[in-house]
Amino acid sequence: MSDVAGSYYLPEPSKWPAVGSIGLFLTTGGFAYALTSGVDGAMGSMTIMYIGFAVMAYMLFGWFGQVIDESEAGKYNAQVDTSFRMGMMWFIFSEVMFFAAFFGALFYARVLAGPWLDGAGNNAMTGSLLWPDFTFEWPMLSVPGEGYDTPTGTIGAWGVPFYNTLILLTSGLTVTWAHWGLKKDNRKQLIIGLALTVALGFLFVFMQAEEYIEAYSHLNLKLSSGTYGSTFFMLTGFHGLHVTIGAIMLTVMLIRSIKGHFSEKHHFAFEAAAWYWHFVDVVWLGLFVVVYWL
C-alpha cells in the first residue's frame, strides 16, 4: 500500500529509518562508552555496541528487502530510477572525499611534516633542538620520539600488493562481463561473472589479512609505528573495509540473480554495486602507487 500520486511514486511511512537511527546510536554510543570507560565498563558497553550492530543488520535486511520487493513489483518508474542513480553517484563522491582526507594526511606527513622534523625549510632548530638524531626518510622506519614500534621492514609493492592489484583489476573485468550477460539476458554469464567477482573480492580481503598478519607479527609494522604505520594501515584498512562492503553488495546481487531478479533494462541495484566496485578498484590503484610503490 503506497501513494502513487499522479506520475510520482511516494513511499508510505516507514519504520526502517527510525530503526536505523536507534542502531547507529547504540553502536556509536556503546563503542564510545567502551573506549572511554577503561576495562571495567568495557564488557557491558561492548554488548550495547553488538546490540547496535544487530539492530543495524535488522534494518538493512528489512529496508533493502522492502525496496527489493517494491522494485520487483514494478513500482519504480524512470524518475525513481534516476533519483536512485543520483543518490548512489553522490554517495560515492562523498566516499572519494573521505579517502581524500587520508591521502592528504599521507601527502602532508611525507612531503611536509617529515622533512620539517628533520630541519627542512626554516625548521633547523626543530631538528637540532628536539630530535637531533632523527633523519627523515620514507618509508619512515624510525620516528623522532621514543616508545613507538620500530618496523624492521616494509611490505614490498611487487609481492602481495601487486597480486592484489591484478585480482581487483580482473574482478573489474568479470563484473563488467556479468553486466554484459545481464544486458543480453544471458543468466548463466551473469551468475558466473558475479560469482567470479565475489570470489576475487573475498580473495583480495583474505590476502590483505595475510599481509596485515605478516606486518604485525614479522615486520613489527603497526598502527603505532609513527606516521608510516598510521597512514599505511588507515588507508589500506579503510579500503579493505570498503572492499568487504562491496563484496557483500555483490553477494546480494549474486543471490538475487540466482533468484531471477533483474531484467535487461531494469537492474539498477546491480549497477550501483558495480559502480561501487569500480570505485574501490580506483582507490586501490591510488593506494598501490602512493602507499606501496613510490
Partner: protein, 521 residues
C-alpha cells in the same frame, strides 16, 4: 489519480514520516530547541564576562560553555534549520510532490537526536557537573589539546553521526532539485533559494567526509596508537588545522549560502520588483562556493606557514569579496526605486543586508595577513563571525519563518509582537556584538573567562545586550506557538507580489502538494 491517505497520527506520524513537510517541521523544531540550549550557554558566558574577575563559573566550565555553545549553534541550530527550510520549501518551489528519497529524508533527521545526545551527554558524566566534564577545547577542537580530553570518543562519534545526516540530507536535496522539477522549470528559472541550496548541498557532500576523516584520525590517535597529529611519531598538529579548515571554511558558506537564498526571495517581494541580476546571483553563488575550497588557511595565518602560503591565502581570501559584493549590490539594486513596504520578513531581510555587510567587511580586515597577526584570536574575530552567523544566518532563518509561516500554518504572525521581536533583537544584537569589535581591537583574547579591567565597560554593555537578545528569542518562541495555534487567516497568495509556485497552493499547504506536476511557463 489515486486518493491520498490521511496522515498517520500520534508519535509514529513523526517517527515514521516520509513527508517533506513533517520532516521540515521536525528539523525546524529540533534546531529551535538547540538554539535555546546553545543560547542559554551564551548567557552563562556573558554572565561570567559581565564583570572582570571570576564570579559565576569555574574556568573549565567556562571553556566547556564556549565549546558547546559553538558546536551546538553550528551543528545543532543553524545547519538543521537550513535543512528544515530546504525540506519545507524546495519541493513546493520546484513543483514536486515530495523529496526524491523520502525514506532517507526521514533517516537524515532521526540521526540528529542521537548525535545531539552523544555530544551533550559527556557534560553530565563523571559526577561534578560544575567542574566541566564535557568538551572544553573550543568548537574547532584543535589538536593536541582535544586529544587530552578523556571522553573524546563521544565527541568523535557525535560528529560522525552529524556528518552522516548532513551527507544523506544533501544527496536528497541534490537528487530532488535535479530530478524532480516540474516540466518547464529549467535550471535558470529556479528560485534563488533552490539554487543556493543546490550549491550548498554540493559543498556539504564534498567537505563533511573530510570532517569525518579528521575526527577519525583524532580517534585513532587517542585510542589506537596512530600519530597523525603527534610530532614525536612523525605527524604534525598543524596538519589537524589544515584538514579541519579544509572542512571548516566551506562550512562557513554552508551556513550562509541558504541565507543568501532566503534574502533573495524576500527582497523582490516587498520591493515589488524582480530580483536584480538573477543570473549574476547564480554565478556569484557558484564562485563563492568554488573559492571556499581554496582559502582555508586564512584561519591559521599565525600558526607558522611559508610566506608564499600566507600571501596566496590572503589574495584568494580577498577575492571572495568580489562575488559577495555582487550579491549585496544586487539586493540593493533590487530595492532601488522599488515600491517598498516593510512587513516583518522585509525588516529582517534588510537588517540582514546591512549587518551581514558589516560582518563581511570585518572579514576582509581579518583576511589581510599582516593585520590578522594582531586580530587573531581576539574578540574582533568573535564579533566578525557573530555578525555573519547571528545577524546573517540566524536573521535570515527568522526572516524565512515570518515570510513562509503563513503558507505553513495558514495563519499570519501576531503583528505587534513580531514588530517588538524584530526591534528588540536588532537593537540588542548590536549592543551585544558591536562593542566586541572595540575590545577585540584593544587586545582582549577570546575564550578567556577573566580579563584586564580596561575591557570592563564594553563587556558590561555586551552582556546587557546579550541578555536582552536572549530574552527576545523567548518572545520568538511565544510568537511561533501563537502563530501555529491561530491568528489572522492567511490568503493563498499571502504577499501581494510574491512570485513562485509555493504561493499558488492553498494556505496552509496541503499534506501532499503537486500530485500532478504544475506547468511552469
Amino acid at each position: 489519480m489515486s486518493e491520498h491517505h490521511a496522515a498517520p497520527t500520534g508519535i509514529t506520524r513523526w517517527l515514521f514520516t516520509t513527508n517533506h513537510k513533517d520532516i521540515g517541521t521536525l528539523y525546524l523544531w529540533f534546531s529551535f530547541i538547540m538554539l535555546l540550549l546553545g543560547g542559554s550557554m551564551a548567557m552563562v558566558i556573558r554572565s561570567e564576562l559581565m564583570y572582570p574577575g571570576m564570579q559565576v563559573v569555574d574556568p573549565n566550565f567556562f571553556n566547556m560553555m564556549t565549546t558547546m555553545h559553538g558546536l551546538i549553534m553550528v551543528f545543532g541550530a543553524i545547519m538543521p534549520a537550513m535543512v528544515g527550510l530546504a525540506n519545507w520549501l524546495i519541493p513546493m518551489m520546484i513543483g514536486a510532490p515530495d523529496m526524491a528519497l523520502p525514506r532517507m529524508n526521514n533517516w537524515s533527521f532521526w540521526i540528529l537526536p542521537g548525535a545531539a545526545i552523544l555530544l551533550v551527554a559527556p557534560m553530565f558524566m563523571g559526577g561534578d557537573f560544575m567542574a566541566g566534564q564535557g568538551p572544553a577545547f573550543g568548537w574547532t577542537f584543535y589538536e593536541p589539546l582535544s586529544g587530552q580530553y578523556g571522553k573524546l570518543a563521544f565527541f568523535v562519534f557525535a560528529v560522525h553521526l552529524l556528518g552522516f545526516s548532513s551527507i544523506m540530507g544533501s544527496i536528497n536535496i541534490i537528487a530532488t532539485i535535479l530530478n524532480m522539477r516540474a516540466p518547464g522549470m529549467t535550471l535558470m528559472k529556479m528560485p534563488m533559494f533552490v539554487w543556493t541550496w543546490l550549491i550548498t548541498a554540493f559543498l556539504l557532500i564534498a567537505v563533511m567526509p573530510v570532517l569525518a576523516g579528521v575526527v577519525t584520525m583524532m580517534l585513532t590517535d587517542k585510542y589506537f596508537g596512530t600519530s597523525f597529529f603527534d610530532a614525536a611519531g612523525g605527524g604534525d598538529p598543524v596538519m589537524f588545522q589544515h584538514v579541519f579548515w579544509f572542512f571548516g571554511h566551506p562550512e562557513v558558506y554552508i551556513m550562509i549560502l541558504p541565507a543568501f537564498g532566503v534574502v533573495s526571495m524576500i527582497i523582490p517581494t516587498f520591493a515589488r520588483k524582480k530580483l536584480f541580476g538573477y543570473a549574476s546571483m547564480v554565478y556569484a553563488t557558484a564562485a563563492i562556493a568554488f573559492l571556499s575550497f581554496i582559502v582555508w588557511a586564512h584561519h591559521m595565518f599565525t600558526v607558522g606557514m611559508p610566506v608564499a602560503g600566507e600571501l596566496y591565502f590572503m589574495y584568494a581570501t580577498v577575492m571572495i569579496a568580489v562575488p559577495t559584493a555582487v550579491k549585496v549590490f544586487n539586493w540593493t539594486a533590487t530595492m532601488w526605486k522599488g515600491s517598498m513596504t516593510f512587513e516583518i520578513p522585509m525588516l529582517w531581510a534588510i537588517a540582514f543586508v546591512f549587518m551581514f555587510t558589516i560582518g563581511g567587511f570585518t572579514g576582509l580586515m581579518l583576511g589581510l595577513t599582516p593585520v590578522d597577526f594582531q586580530y587573531h584570536d581576539t574578540y574582533f574575530v568573535v564579533a566578525h563571525f557573530h555578525y555573519v552567523l547571528v545577524t546573517g544566518s540566524l536573521f535570515a532563518i527568522i526572516a524565512a519563518f515570518y515570510y513562509w509561516v503563513p503558507k505553513w500554518t495558514g495563519n499570519m504572525y501576531p503583528p505587534l509582537l513580531s514588530k517588538i521581536h524584530f526591534w528588540a533583537s536588532l537593537i540588542s544584537v548590536n549592543v551585544l556584538f558591536f562593542p566586541q569589535h572595540f575590545i577585540g581591537l584593544a587586545g582582549m583574547p577570546r575564550r578567556i573567562p577573566d580579563y584586564a579591567v580596561q575591557f570592563a565597560d564594553w563587556n558590561y554593555w555586551s552582556s546587557i545586550g546579550g541578555f536582552a537578545f536572549g530574552l527576545s528569542q523567548i518572545l520568538f518562541l511565544v510568537i511561533v506557538i501563537k502563530t501555529i495555534k491561530g491568528g489572522e487567516k492567511a490568503t493563498d497568495q499571502v504577499w501581494e507580489s510574491a512570485e513562485g509556485l509555493e504561493w499558488t497552493i492553498p494556505s496552509p499547504a496541503p499534506y501532499h502538494t503537486f500530485a500532478t506536476p504544475p506547468e511552469v511557463k
